[in-house]
Protein backbone atom coordinates (compact mmCIF):
# COMPACT_ATOMS: atom_id res chain seq x y z
CA UNK A 1 0.00 0.00 0.00
CA UNK A 2 3.00 2.30 0.42
CA UNK A 3 3.71 2.18 -3.27
CA UNK A 4 4.00 5.85 -4.23
CA UNK A 5 2.36 5.22 -7.61
CA UNK A 6 -0.87 4.31 -5.82
CA UNK A 7 -1.13 7.68 -4.12
CA UNK A 8 -3.02 10.50 -5.70
CA UNK A 9 -0.89 13.12 -7.41
CA UNK A 10 -0.01 16.14 -5.30
CA UNK A 11 -2.08 18.56 -7.38
CA UNK A 12 -5.35 16.72 -6.97
CA UNK A 13 -4.66 16.18 -3.26
CA UNK A 14 -4.07 19.89 -2.80
CA UNK A 15 -7.29 20.65 -4.60
CA UNK A 16 -9.21 18.26 -2.37
CA UNK A 17 -7.81 19.96 0.72
CA UNK A 18 -8.66 23.37 -0.67
CA UNK A 19 -12.24 22.32 -1.30
CA UNK A 20 -12.51 20.85 2.19
CA UNK A 21 -11.19 24.01 3.86
CA UNK A 22 -13.49 26.18 1.75
CA UNK A 23 -16.47 24.05 2.79
CA UNK A 24 -15.53 24.34 6.47
CA UNK A 25 -15.24 28.11 6.20
CA UNK A 26 -18.62 28.32 4.48
CA UNK A 27 -20.20 26.20 7.20
CA UNK A 28 -18.73 28.25 10.03
CA UNK A 29 -20.01 31.40 8.35
CA UNK A 30 -23.46 29.89 7.80
CA UNK A 31 -23.87 28.60 11.34
CA UNK A 32 -22.78 31.92 12.81
CA UNK A 33 -25.69 33.51 10.99
CA UNK A 34 -28.21 31.40 12.86
CA UNK A 35 -28.07 33.08 16.23
CA UNK A 36 -30.38 31.06 18.38
CA UNK A 37 -32.03 33.68 20.52
CA UNK A 38 -33.53 31.15 22.85
CA UNK A 39 -37.14 30.17 22.85
CA UNK A 40 -39.81 32.81 22.88
CA UNK A 41 -41.11 33.38 26.36
CA UNK A 42 -44.42 32.01 25.18
CA UNK A 43 -42.92 29.07 23.30
CA UNK A 44 -44.06 26.44 25.76
CA UNK A 45 -47.64 27.58 26.01
CA UNK A 46 -47.79 28.06 22.23
CA UNK A 47 -46.40 24.57 21.59
CA UNK A 48 -48.88 23.05 24.00
CA UNK A 49 -51.67 25.01 22.33
CA UNK A 50 -50.53 23.84 18.88
CA UNK A 51 -50.37 20.21 19.96
CA UNK A 52 -53.72 20.56 21.63
CA UNK A 53 -55.15 22.10 18.48
CA UNK A 54 -53.78 19.33 16.30
CA UNK A 55 -55.18 16.68 18.63
CA UNK A 56 -58.58 18.34 18.72
CA UNK A 57 -59.22 19.62 15.20
CA UNK A 58 -62.13 21.97 14.73
CA UNK A 59 -64.43 19.50 12.98
CA UNK A 60 -67.23 22.03 12.66
CA UNK A 61 -65.11 23.87 10.09
CA UNK A 62 -65.15 20.96 7.64
CA UNK A 63 -68.52 21.87 6.19
CA UNK A 64 -70.43 25.09 6.70
CA UNK A 65 -73.52 25.33 4.52
CA UNK A 66 -73.05 29.03 3.86
CA UNK A 67 -69.67 30.64 3.33
CA UNK A 68 -66.05 29.58 3.59
CA UNK A 69 -65.29 26.10 4.85
CA UNK A 70 -62.56 23.51 4.56
CA UNK A 71 -64.10 21.51 1.71
CA UNK A 72 -64.59 24.59 -0.44
CA UNK A 73 -61.05 25.77 0.27
CA UNK A 74 -59.63 22.39 -0.69
CA UNK A 75 -61.75 22.29 -3.85
CA UNK A 76 -60.43 25.73 -4.74
CA UNK A 77 -56.87 24.52 -4.22
CA UNK A 78 -57.47 21.45 -6.37
CA UNK A 79 -59.04 23.51 -9.15
CA UNK A 80 -56.16 26.01 -9.10
CA UNK A 81 -53.58 23.29 -9.49
CA UNK A 82 -55.50 21.45 -12.24
CA UNK A 83 -55.90 24.61 -14.28
CA UNK A 84 -52.37 25.80 -13.55
CA UNK A 85 -50.91 22.48 -14.71
CA UNK A 86 -53.06 22.55 -17.84
CA UNK A 87 -52.01 26.09 -18.72
CA UNK A 88 -48.33 25.29 -18.29
CA UNK A 89 -48.51 21.95 -20.13
CA UNK A 90 -50.05 23.77 -23.08
CA UNK A 91 -47.94 26.91 -23.12
CA UNK A 92 -44.66 25.10 -22.59
CA UNK A 93 -44.88 23.07 -25.81
CA UNK A 94 -43.48 25.82 -28.07
CA UNK A 95 -40.88 26.59 -25.40
CA UNK A 96 -39.84 22.95 -25.31
CA UNK A 97 -39.37 22.81 -29.07
CA UNK A 98 -37.49 26.10 -28.92
CA UNK A 99 -35.09 24.80 -26.28
CA UNK A 100 -34.39 21.32 -27.66
CA UNK A 101 -31.18 21.22 -29.62
CA UNK A 102 -32.20 18.58 -32.18
CA UNK A 103 -35.13 20.59 -33.55
CA UNK A 104 -32.93 23.24 -35.09
CA UNK A 105 -29.55 23.43 -36.74
CA UNK A 106 -28.80 26.75 -35.05
CA UNK A 107 -27.11 26.10 -31.75
CA UNK A 108 -27.55 29.61 -30.27
CA UNK A 109 -31.31 29.30 -30.83
CA UNK A 110 -31.74 26.32 -28.51
CA UNK A 111 -29.21 27.84 -26.11
CA UNK A 112 -31.28 31.00 -25.82
CA UNK A 113 -34.38 28.87 -25.22
CA UNK A 114 -32.64 27.05 -22.39
CA UNK A 115 -31.57 30.34 -20.86
CA UNK A 116 -35.10 31.78 -21.00
CA UNK A 117 -36.42 28.65 -19.30
CA UNK A 118 -33.89 28.84 -16.50
CA UNK A 119 -34.77 32.49 -15.94
CA UNK A 120 -38.46 31.55 -15.70
CA UNK A 121 -37.56 28.77 -13.28
CA UNK A 122 -35.73 31.10 -10.94
CA UNK A 123 -38.77 33.16 -9.90
CA UNK A 124 -40.54 31.46 -7.02
CA UNK A 125 -44.30 30.96 -7.49
CA UNK A 126 -44.96 33.38 -4.67
CA UNK A 127 -43.36 36.27 -6.52
CA UNK A 128 -45.12 35.40 -9.76
CA UNK A 129 -48.34 35.17 -7.76
CA UNK A 130 -47.82 38.62 -6.25
CA UNK A 131 -47.27 40.08 -9.72
CA UNK A 132 -50.44 38.48 -11.05
CA UNK A 133 -52.44 39.60 -8.06
CA UNK A 134 -51.53 43.16 -9.03
CA UNK A 135 -52.72 42.41 -12.55
CA UNK A 136 -55.96 40.45 -12.16
CA UNK A 137 -56.74 41.11 -8.50
CA UNK A 138 -56.54 38.67 -5.60
CA UNK A 139 -58.25 35.32 -6.04
CA UNK A 140 -57.97 31.94 -7.65
CA UNK A 141 -57.30 33.26 -11.14
CA UNK A 142 -54.06 34.89 -10.03
CA UNK A 143 -53.06 31.57 -8.46
CA UNK A 144 -53.77 29.71 -11.69
CA UNK A 145 -51.67 32.12 -13.71
CA UNK A 146 -48.83 32.03 -11.19
CA UNK A 147 -48.66 28.24 -11.16
CA UNK A 148 -49.04 28.12 -14.92
CA UNK A 149 -46.22 30.56 -15.65
CA UNK A 150 -43.89 29.19 -13.00
CA UNK A 151 -44.33 25.57 -14.10
CA UNK A 152 -43.44 26.41 -17.70
CA UNK A 153 -39.78 26.67 -16.78
CA UNK A 154 -39.50 23.22 -15.25
CA UNK A 155 -41.95 21.42 -17.54
CA UNK A 156 -40.47 22.79 -20.75
CA UNK A 157 -37.00 21.76 -19.58
CA UNK A 158 -38.12 18.18 -18.99
CA UNK A 159 -40.07 18.18 -22.26
CA UNK A 160 -37.13 19.45 -24.25
CA UNK A 161 -34.92 16.73 -22.77
CA UNK A 162 -37.52 14.18 -23.90
CA UNK A 163 -37.59 15.68 -27.39
CA UNK A 164 -33.81 15.53 -27.54
CA UNK A 165 -33.87 11.81 -26.82
CA UNK A 166 -36.32 10.76 -29.57
CA UNK A 167 -35.46 8.14 -32.14
CA UNK A 168 -34.32 9.82 -35.37
CA UNK A 169 -35.41 7.02 -37.73
CA UNK A 170 -39.05 8.05 -38.30
CA UNK A 171 -38.03 11.69 -38.66
CA UNK A 172 -35.49 10.95 -41.38
CA UNK A 173 -37.91 8.62 -43.13
CA UNK A 174 -40.55 11.37 -43.25
CA UNK A 175 -38.05 13.95 -44.49
CA UNK A 176 -36.99 11.48 -47.19
CA UNK A 177 -40.63 11.18 -48.29
CA UNK A 178 -40.82 14.95 -48.59
CA UNK A 179 -42.69 15.87 -45.42
CA UNK A 180 -42.42 19.46 -44.27
CA UNK A 181 -41.31 20.58 -40.85
CA UNK A 182 -44.75 20.65 -39.22
CA UNK A 183 -45.60 17.22 -40.59
CA UNK A 184 -42.36 15.83 -39.18
CA UNK A 185 -43.19 17.25 -35.75
CA UNK A 186 -46.76 15.96 -35.87
CA UNK A 187 -46.15 12.45 -37.14
CA UNK A 188 -42.60 11.59 -36.04
CA UNK A 189 -41.82 13.58 -32.91
CA UNK A 190 -45.11 14.05 -31.08
CA UNK A 191 -46.22 10.38 -31.09
CA UNK A 192 -42.94 9.40 -29.49
CA UNK A 193 -42.97 12.00 -26.73
CA UNK A 194 -46.64 12.19 -25.73
CA UNK A 195 -46.54 9.48 -23.03
CA UNK A 196 -43.55 11.19 -21.41
CA UNK A 197 -45.29 14.57 -21.67
CA UNK A 198 -48.35 13.26 -19.87
CA UNK A 199 -46.25 11.62 -17.19
CA UNK A 200 -44.26 14.80 -16.53
CA UNK A 201 -47.44 16.87 -16.46
CA UNK A 202 -48.91 14.59 -13.83
CA UNK A 203 -45.71 14.84 -11.82
CA UNK A 204 -45.91 18.62 -12.09
CA UNK A 205 -49.52 18.45 -10.94
CA UNK A 206 -48.37 16.75 -7.75
CA UNK A 207 -45.89 19.56 -7.13
CA UNK A 208 -48.42 22.22 -8.04
CA UNK A 209 -50.99 21.04 -5.55
CA UNK A 210 -48.41 21.46 -2.79
CA UNK A 211 -47.70 24.99 -3.97
CA UNK A 212 -51.39 25.76 -4.36
CA UNK A 213 -51.95 25.07 -0.67
CA UNK A 214 -49.65 27.96 0.25
CA UNK A 215 -50.47 30.40 -2.57
CA UNK A 216 -53.30 31.73 -0.43
CA UNK A 217 -50.74 33.08 2.05
CA UNK A 218 -50.19 35.98 -0.36
CA UNK A 219 -53.85 36.16 -1.41
CA UNK A 220 -53.95 34.00 -4.52
CA UNK A 221 -56.88 31.81 -3.55
CA UNK A 222 -57.19 28.32 -2.20
CA UNK A 223 -56.95 26.93 1.32
CA UNK A 224 -53.94 29.13 2.20
CA UNK A 225 -56.06 32.21 2.89
CA UNK A 226 -58.20 30.71 5.69
CA UNK A 227 -55.04 29.03 6.98
CA UNK A 228 -53.29 32.39 7.26
CA UNK A 229 -56.26 33.85 9.12
CA UNK A 230 -56.32 30.90 11.49
CA UNK A 231 -52.57 31.21 12.09
CA UNK A 232 -52.81 34.93 12.78
CA UNK A 233 -55.69 34.46 15.20
CA UNK A 234 -53.79 31.59 16.89
CA UNK A 235 -56.84 29.43 16.31
CA UNK A 236 -54.88 26.18 16.52
CA UNK A 237 -57.91 23.89 16.38
CA UNK A 238 -58.72 25.34 12.99
CA UNK A 239 -55.08 25.20 11.84
CA UNK A 240 -55.12 21.53 12.86
CA UNK A 241 -58.15 20.69 10.79
CA UNK A 242 -56.84 22.62 7.77
CA UNK A 243 -53.47 20.85 7.95
CA UNK A 244 -55.28 17.54 8.20
CA UNK A 245 -57.31 18.43 5.11
CA UNK A 246 -54.18 19.40 3.18
CA UNK A 247 -52.44 16.15 4.09
CA UNK A 248 -55.46 14.08 3.02
CA UNK A 249 -55.84 16.02 -0.24
CA UNK A 250 -52.16 15.65 -1.15
CA UNK A 251 -52.06 11.96 -0.35
CA UNK A 252 -55.22 11.34 -2.40
CA UNK A 253 -53.97 13.26 -5.44
CA UNK A 254 -50.57 11.54 -5.21
CA UNK A 255 -52.28 8.16 -5.23
CA UNK A 256 -54.54 9.03 -8.16
CA UNK A 257 -51.81 10.58 -10.27
CA UNK A 258 -49.43 7.72 -9.49
CA UNK A 259 -52.09 5.28 -10.70
CA UNK A 260 -52.72 7.31 -13.87
CA UNK A 261 -49.00 7.57 -14.56
CA UNK A 262 -48.58 3.83 -14.31
CA UNK A 263 -51.31 3.41 -16.94
CA UNK A 264 -49.73 5.93 -19.30
CA UNK A 265 -46.14 4.73 -19.32
Amino acid sequence: MNDPTLRRPVGSRLRLWAIAILLIIIYIWAFRGMQFEGLQGTAKSVSVAILNGFLHPDWSYVYIPEGEDLLRGLLDTLVISILGTFVSAFVCLPFAFWASSNMTRLRPLSGSGKFVLSVIRVFPEMIVAILFIKAVGPGSFAGVLALGIHSIGMLAKLFSETIESVDHGPQEALVACGANRLQVIFFAVLPQVIPQFLSYSLYRFEINIRSATTLGLVGAGGIGTPLLFALQMRNWNRVGVILLGIVVLIILTDLISGWLRKRIV
Binding site: M34, E37, L75, D76, I80, F123, M126, L131, K134, V247
Partner: protein, 284 residues
Protein backbone atom coordinates in the same frame (compact mmCIF):
# COMPACT_ATOMS: atom_id res chain seq x y z
CA UNK B 1 -52.82 -5.28 -20.45
CA UNK B 2 -55.55 -2.73 -20.12
CA UNK B 3 -57.42 -1.91 -23.32
CA UNK B 4 -56.88 1.81 -23.02
CA UNK B 5 -53.13 1.63 -22.76
CA UNK B 6 -52.88 -0.76 -25.70
CA UNK B 7 -54.95 1.63 -27.75
CA UNK B 8 -52.71 4.48 -26.77
CA UNK B 9 -49.60 2.54 -27.57
CA UNK B 10 -50.93 1.46 -30.94
CA UNK B 11 -51.80 4.98 -31.90
CA UNK B 12 -48.62 6.45 -30.53
CA UNK B 13 -46.15 4.10 -32.20
CA UNK B 14 -44.45 5.61 -35.21
CA UNK B 15 -46.04 4.47 -38.47
CA UNK B 16 -45.11 0.85 -39.12
CA UNK B 17 -43.28 0.18 -42.37
CA UNK B 18 -46.05 -1.86 -44.02
CA UNK B 19 -48.70 0.75 -43.34
CA UNK B 20 -47.09 3.28 -45.65
CA UNK B 21 -46.72 6.98 -44.93
CA UNK B 22 -49.41 8.29 -42.62
CA UNK B 23 -52.06 10.55 -44.04
CA UNK B 24 -54.32 12.88 -42.11
CA UNK B 25 -57.84 11.54 -41.89
CA UNK B 26 -56.77 7.96 -42.48
CA UNK B 27 -55.81 5.78 -39.54
CA UNK B 28 -53.75 2.83 -40.77
CA UNK B 29 -53.25 0.79 -37.61
CA UNK B 30 -56.22 2.30 -35.79
CA UNK B 31 -57.24 0.95 -32.39
CA UNK B 32 -60.28 -1.32 -32.17
CA UNK B 33 -63.60 0.43 -31.75
CA UNK B 34 -64.18 -0.05 -28.00
CA UNK B 35 -60.70 1.30 -27.30
CA UNK B 36 -61.44 4.30 -29.44
CA UNK B 37 -64.68 5.04 -27.57
CA UNK B 38 -62.80 4.80 -24.35
CA UNK B 39 -60.30 7.33 -25.59
CA UNK B 40 -63.05 9.71 -26.66
CA UNK B 41 -64.60 9.29 -23.23
CA UNK B 42 -61.28 10.13 -21.59
CA UNK B 43 -60.98 13.31 -23.62
CA UNK B 44 -64.60 14.22 -22.86
CA UNK B 45 -64.03 13.82 -19.12
CA UNK B 46 -60.84 15.84 -19.38
CA UNK B 47 -62.57 18.71 -21.17
CA UNK B 48 -65.55 18.67 -18.81
CA UNK B 49 -63.21 18.86 -15.80
CA UNK B 50 -61.33 21.75 -17.38
CA UNK B 51 -64.47 23.72 -18.19
CA UNK B 52 -65.88 23.10 -14.73
CA UNK B 53 -62.62 24.31 -13.21
CA UNK B 54 -62.54 27.49 -15.26
CA UNK B 55 -66.13 28.27 -14.34
CA UNK B 56 -65.28 27.68 -10.70
CA UNK B 57 -62.41 30.18 -10.66
CA UNK B 58 -64.05 32.67 -13.06
CA UNK B 59 -60.93 32.28 -15.17
CA UNK B 60 -61.65 33.85 -18.52
CA UNK B 61 -59.29 35.13 -21.19
CA UNK B 62 -61.22 38.41 -20.97
CA UNK B 63 -60.05 38.95 -17.41
CA UNK B 64 -56.49 38.25 -18.39
CA UNK B 65 -56.60 40.70 -21.29
CA UNK B 66 -58.13 43.38 -19.06
CA UNK B 67 -55.43 42.72 -16.48
CA UNK B 68 -52.50 42.74 -18.88
CA UNK B 69 -52.12 46.54 -19.15
CA UNK B 70 -52.18 46.65 -15.35
CA UNK B 71 -49.30 44.20 -15.30
CA UNK B 72 -47.48 46.16 -17.96
CA UNK B 73 -47.80 49.23 -15.77
CA UNK B 74 -46.38 47.24 -12.86
CA UNK B 75 -43.42 46.10 -14.93
CA UNK B 76 -42.93 49.68 -16.08
CA UNK B 77 -42.72 50.84 -12.48
CA UNK B 78 -40.09 48.19 -11.81
CA UNK B 79 -37.67 49.87 -14.16
CA UNK B 80 -35.22 51.35 -13.63
CA UNK B 81 -34.24 49.33 -10.54
CA UNK B 82 -33.25 51.29 -7.46
CA UNK B 83 -29.54 50.48 -7.35
CA UNK B 84 -29.00 52.52 -4.17
CA UNK B 85 -31.02 49.85 -2.35
CA UNK B 86 -28.36 47.22 -3.07
CA UNK B 87 -26.26 47.70 0.12
CA UNK B 88 -29.40 47.30 2.25
CA UNK B 89 -30.45 44.00 0.71
CA UNK B 90 -26.97 42.51 0.74
CA UNK B 91 -27.12 41.29 4.35
CA UNK B 92 -30.60 39.71 4.18
CA UNK B 93 -29.56 38.03 0.94
CA UNK B 94 -26.57 36.43 2.68
CA UNK B 95 -28.90 35.44 5.50
CA UNK B 96 -31.10 33.69 2.95
CA UNK B 97 -28.14 31.63 1.78
CA UNK B 98 -27.16 30.86 5.38
CA UNK B 99 -30.67 29.64 6.11
CA UNK B 100 -30.56 27.39 3.06
CA UNK B 101 -27.11 25.97 3.88
CA UNK B 102 -27.80 25.21 7.54
CA UNK B 103 -31.34 23.93 6.93
CA UNK B 104 -30.27 21.63 4.11
CA UNK B 105 -27.24 20.26 5.98
CA UNK B 106 -29.02 19.50 9.24
CA UNK B 107 -31.95 18.00 7.34
CA UNK B 108 -29.57 15.80 5.37
CA UNK B 109 -27.78 14.62 8.52
CA UNK B 110 -31.11 13.70 10.09
CA UNK B 111 -32.13 11.94 6.89
CA UNK B 112 -29.22 9.45 6.91
CA UNK B 113 -30.34 7.18 9.77
CA UNK B 114 -33.98 7.45 8.72
CA UNK B 115 -33.17 6.51 5.13
CA UNK B 116 -31.25 3.46 6.38
CA UNK B 117 -34.16 2.44 8.58
CA UNK B 118 -36.62 2.84 5.71
CA UNK B 119 -34.80 0.74 3.12
CA UNK B 120 -36.08 -2.83 3.05
CA UNK B 121 -32.70 -4.32 2.17
CA UNK B 122 -31.02 -2.77 5.23
CA UNK B 123 -33.91 -3.02 7.66
CA UNK B 124 -35.95 -6.06 6.69
CA UNK B 125 -38.16 -5.74 9.74
CA UNK B 126 -41.32 -4.06 8.47
CA UNK B 127 -42.34 -3.20 12.00
CA UNK B 128 -39.73 -0.44 11.95
CA UNK B 129 -39.50 0.54 8.28
CA UNK B 130 -43.24 0.92 7.65
CA UNK B 131 -43.95 3.48 10.40
CA UNK B 132 -40.79 5.33 9.36
CA UNK B 133 -42.05 5.55 5.80
CA UNK B 134 -45.42 6.78 6.98
CA UNK B 135 -43.78 9.55 8.98
CA UNK B 136 -41.69 10.50 5.95
CA UNK B 137 -44.75 10.69 3.73
CA UNK B 138 -46.52 12.88 6.26
CA UNK B 139 -43.54 15.23 6.53
CA UNK B 140 -43.33 15.54 2.76
CA UNK B 141 -46.98 16.49 2.35
CA UNK B 142 -46.57 19.68 4.40
CA UNK B 143 -45.28 22.60 2.30
CA UNK B 144 -42.26 24.54 3.57
CA UNK B 145 -44.15 27.80 4.02
CA UNK B 146 -46.58 26.02 6.35
CA UNK B 147 -43.71 24.72 8.44
CA UNK B 148 -42.26 28.21 8.48
CA UNK B 149 -45.45 29.89 9.63
CA UNK B 150 -45.85 27.37 12.46
CA UNK B 151 -42.22 27.70 13.56
CA UNK B 152 -42.47 31.48 13.50
CA UNK B 153 -45.33 31.16 15.96
CA UNK B 154 -43.22 28.99 18.27
CA UNK B 155 -39.72 30.45 17.97
CA UNK B 156 -40.50 34.02 17.05
CA UNK B 157 -39.71 35.98 13.92
CA UNK B 158 -36.21 35.40 12.53
CA UNK B 159 -33.94 33.14 10.51
CA UNK B 160 -34.04 30.36 13.07
CA UNK B 161 -37.67 29.56 12.27
CA UNK B 162 -36.89 29.56 8.56
CA UNK B 163 -33.93 27.26 9.11
CA UNK B 164 -36.11 24.79 11.03
CA UNK B 165 -38.73 24.88 8.27
CA UNK B 166 -36.15 24.05 5.63
CA UNK B 167 -34.65 21.39 7.90
CA UNK B 168 -37.91 19.45 7.98
CA UNK B 169 -38.59 20.08 4.33
CA UNK B 170 -35.19 18.82 3.15
CA UNK B 171 -35.28 15.95 5.63
CA UNK B 172 -38.45 14.68 3.93
CA UNK B 173 -37.08 14.96 0.39
CA UNK B 174 -33.55 13.66 1.00
CA UNK B 175 -34.62 10.72 3.15
CA UNK B 176 -37.17 9.61 0.56
CA UNK B 177 -34.81 9.86 -2.42
CA UNK B 178 -31.92 8.27 -0.52
CA UNK B 179 -33.81 5.26 0.74
CA UNK B 180 -34.97 4.59 -2.80
CA UNK B 181 -31.33 4.79 -3.94
CA UNK B 182 -30.30 2.43 -1.12
CA UNK B 183 -32.89 -0.10 -2.18
CA UNK B 184 -31.52 -0.04 -5.71
CA UNK B 185 -27.89 -0.78 -4.76
CA UNK B 186 -26.10 -3.94 -5.84
CA UNK B 187 -26.77 -6.68 -3.21
CA UNK B 188 -23.63 -8.66 -4.17
CA UNK B 189 -21.11 -6.95 -1.84
CA UNK B 190 -23.60 -7.06 1.05
CA UNK B 191 -24.08 -10.82 0.65
CA UNK B 192 -20.34 -11.37 0.36
CA UNK B 193 -19.73 -9.44 3.55
CA UNK B 194 -22.46 -11.26 5.44
CA UNK B 195 -20.99 -14.56 4.23
CA UNK B 196 -17.58 -13.76 5.71
CA UNK B 197 -19.20 -12.83 9.02
CA UNK B 198 -19.43 -9.04 8.97
CA UNK B 199 -21.70 -7.47 11.54
CA UNK B 200 -24.73 -5.41 10.57
CA UNK B 201 -22.92 -2.11 11.23
CA UNK B 202 -19.93 -3.26 9.17
CA UNK B 203 -22.18 -4.22 6.26
CA UNK B 204 -23.77 -0.77 6.33
CA UNK B 205 -20.49 1.09 6.71
CA UNK B 206 -18.53 -0.76 4.02
CA UNK B 207 -21.24 -2.17 1.75
CA UNK B 208 -24.17 0.24 1.72
CA UNK B 209 -22.65 3.66 2.38
CA UNK B 210 -19.98 3.67 -0.37
CA UNK B 211 -22.58 2.70 -2.95
CA UNK B 212 -25.26 5.14 -1.83
CA UNK B 213 -23.00 8.10 -1.03
CA UNK B 214 -22.79 9.65 -4.53
CA UNK B 215 -26.60 9.60 -4.82
CA UNK B 216 -26.95 11.09 -1.39
CA UNK B 217 -24.59 13.97 -2.21
CA UNK B 218 -26.33 14.60 -5.51
CA UNK B 219 -29.75 14.73 -3.79
CA UNK B 220 -28.27 17.01 -1.15
CA UNK B 221 -27.12 19.47 -3.80
CA UNK B 222 -30.46 19.28 -5.58
CA UNK B 223 -32.32 20.00 -2.34
CA UNK B 224 -29.96 22.86 -1.63
CA UNK B 225 -30.90 24.47 -4.96
CA UNK B 226 -34.59 24.06 -4.17
CA UNK B 227 -34.01 25.47 -0.68
CA UNK B 228 -32.27 28.64 -1.86
CA UNK B 229 -35.40 29.43 -3.85
CA UNK B 230 -37.65 28.49 -0.94
CA UNK B 231 -35.59 30.57 1.51
CA UNK B 232 -36.04 33.67 -0.62
CA UNK B 233 -39.80 33.65 0.06
CA UNK B 234 -39.75 32.39 3.65
CA UNK B 235 -39.57 36.00 4.82
CA UNK B 236 -43.12 36.53 3.57
CA UNK B 237 -44.31 34.75 6.72
CA UNK B 238 -41.60 36.29 8.93
CA UNK B 239 -38.99 33.55 8.82
CA UNK B 240 -35.95 35.64 7.96
CA UNK B 241 -34.04 36.28 4.79
CA UNK B 242 -34.70 38.47 1.79
CA UNK B 243 -38.44 37.72 1.71
CA UNK B 244 -39.10 40.23 4.49
CA UNK B 245 -37.70 43.09 2.40
CA UNK B 246 -39.55 41.80 -0.61
CA UNK B 247 -42.79 41.93 1.31
CA UNK B 248 -42.00 45.40 2.63
CA UNK B 249 -41.09 46.86 -0.76
CA UNK B 250 -44.28 45.42 -2.26
CA UNK B 251 -46.35 46.78 0.61
CA UNK B 252 -44.86 50.27 0.15
CA UNK B 253 -45.40 50.08 -3.64
CA UNK B 254 -41.64 50.58 -4.15
CA UNK B 255 -41.52 48.37 -7.21
CA UNK B 256 -38.11 49.70 -8.21
CA UNK B 257 -36.83 48.11 -5.00
CA UNK B 258 -38.77 44.91 -5.69
CA UNK B 259 -37.08 44.59 -9.03
CA UNK B 260 -33.57 44.96 -7.58
CA UNK B 261 -34.38 42.25 -5.02
CA UNK B 262 -35.66 39.96 -7.75
CA UNK B 263 -32.59 40.65 -9.89
CA UNK B 264 -30.19 39.86 -7.06
CA UNK B 265 -32.09 36.67 -6.23
CA UNK B 266 -31.87 35.70 -9.89
CA UNK B 267 -28.10 36.19 -9.95
CA UNK B 268 -27.54 34.27 -6.70
CA UNK B 269 -29.76 31.37 -7.70
CA UNK B 270 -28.15 31.07 -11.12
CA UNK B 271 -24.68 31.16 -9.54
CA UNK B 272 -25.58 28.46 -7.00
CA UNK B 273 -27.19 26.28 -9.67
CA UNK B 274 -24.07 26.57 -11.78
CA UNK B 275 -21.75 25.81 -8.85
CA UNK B 276 -23.73 22.82 -7.67
CA UNK B 277 -23.94 21.41 -11.20
CA UNK B 278 -20.17 21.67 -11.43
CA UNK B 279 -19.75 19.92 -8.08
CA UNK B 280 -22.21 17.19 -9.00
CA UNK B 281 -20.42 16.43 -12.26
CA UNK B 282 -17.16 16.12 -10.30
CA UNK B 283 -18.70 13.76 -7.76
CA UNK B 284 -20.69 11.40 -9.98
Amino acid sequence: MKPDSTARQLSSTPPSPHAGPPQPGMRPAGPPLPGRYKRYATWMIFIVVLVACSIHTDATPYQLIVGLPEMGKLLGEMFPPDWSYLPTIWKPMLETIQIAIVGTTLGAILAIPVALLCAYNVMPRKLISLPMRTILNLVRTIPDLLFASIFVAVFGIGPFAGMLALLFFSFGIIAKLTFEAIEAIDPGPLEAMTAVGASRIQVIAFGVVPQALPYFVSYLLYTFEVNVRAASVLGLVGAGGIGLLLDRSLGLFRYDRTSIIILLTLVIVLAIDYGSNLLRRKLL
